[in-house]
Amino acid sequence: MEQQSIRYTYDSESGEEEDTEMSGGSPTPMLLLSLEKMKKIADSNALNKKLLSGRVLLVGIEEGGSLFLSSIKNKKIIGTLLLPGSDSIPPDPNNSEIISLIYELEAAPDVLIVFCKHQIPTERCAGWTKTLFEHVDVQSVVVFDTFAASSYINLDSEDHPYPPLVRILQTSKAASIQDIPLYEPPNLTRDLGAAILSHCEIHKIPAYLLLSLLDTQHGRFMATSSTLQAFQTAWEKLVASHGVEQGIDFVADIQSIFKTNERKNRDILSESQSQLYL
């Protein structure tokens, strides 16, 4: 009886805390745009529509995806997605823990790039995605994410997977890409990648989720040049199939921008390659 009363006591306390939190509402992410961008939007009399619009939205998630997209040259910051719990306004761009920077390509302003280097908690992913798409109107989405070999199940082969290895998931509106293998069941994607893809599926936006395998070095999972190489290869195959009906319409300058960054990617991460094993 004493144990029961103690347990109920704890239960009622924790319930009150939860009720308070729910009634107060969890803080939602905020989108902040640069003055220059706001001025452009005001000048174009597009204040009634969504703040940002474009043809393609590229999203880089955590270490691998954001690293790949961060190497794109000639992009400029146009805004920030401020995550809950942050009191810093204006946001400090050096603090990647709380912000997701939004860029546009200088050569092609209708290509938007978002990446966040830190892991967004699972319970916040839906809110982050909702806030992003409330203010961003795009025709298609490509998400760059990574996965670890320890969580990957390949029923067709007993071989341990090694990078570079890439898999794809897509919404039903997106055309299938034959050259990139599917992220096959029973594997599940989760967190931000899953949230974005689900949102795009519900709102009938063609979207691709590219998943590249993380490398293992000294017992840690990390993105190396092999991980980025897989993204590069998958990107080229995605671009090559742009002529498919209902597919994503990529322009040539995106291709050239990624190509010029191929060498930079190799330089940045080549030091981490181990030649212990040949």
Binding site: S157, L165, V166, S225, Q229, T233, S270, Q275, Y277, L278
Partner: protein, 253 residues
Amino acid sequence: MTSSYDRALTVFSPDGHLFQVEYALEAVRKGTCAVGVRGQDCVVLGVEKKSVLKLQDPRTVRKIVMLDDHICMAFAGLSADARVLVNKARIECQSYRLSVEDPVTVEYITRYIAGVQQKYTQSGGVRPFGISTLIIGFDPHDKTPKLYQTDPSGIYSAWKANAIGRSSKTVREFLEKNHKDDLSKEESIKLTVKSLLEVVQTGAKNIEITIMSAGNIIENLKVDEVDKIVKEIEEEKKEADKKKKPGTGASIQ
């Protein structure tokens, strides 16, 4: 259970395992893939190369090495262990030549390498070599191509085609489906490249091919030659896909 029996090389586990040898096989799987294909009158070695670092001399990072004029070897696993084993094998080849006044046979040097590897599984204070090897060549005065494989346990055997290193199981399954006896030189090379393309996603720039023909003729294909073969394979694959799909090419998933 394994923790009690996996630290000392010379101790069997109750169920008959030598865990250090099995761990050495895991080290082999960390190396990139190497493939050997035996044709009618040639034998081909293909390897997946790792990209060299920016300031590194690529000639000093090799996965295919010569043991003698008529014998070639590819390895997968710890590169430092490979260097030591290759040096021992090269000395043995020359010692044999000087003693017997004849070059070694492929089987002899394979047996020697496997014997060294086995010795290091049965001595105290040492560990097994963390490499598997594919050895190709022609015996003196013989035009029959030979392909052998050794592994850290000291086992060796002759093969028509085999693969070692990462994703070797996938490649071996591909070879089992596609290999046939009496392959011509072009067919052997193409099969080697095709099997590597199953696991190498980056294309010709990370593939190295060495062909050995009778009369000690050794060819190392250049990158553009490998690229040409890769393109031919991709074209053939596209043609085969087109033939499979009727009409406009819509696929059912």
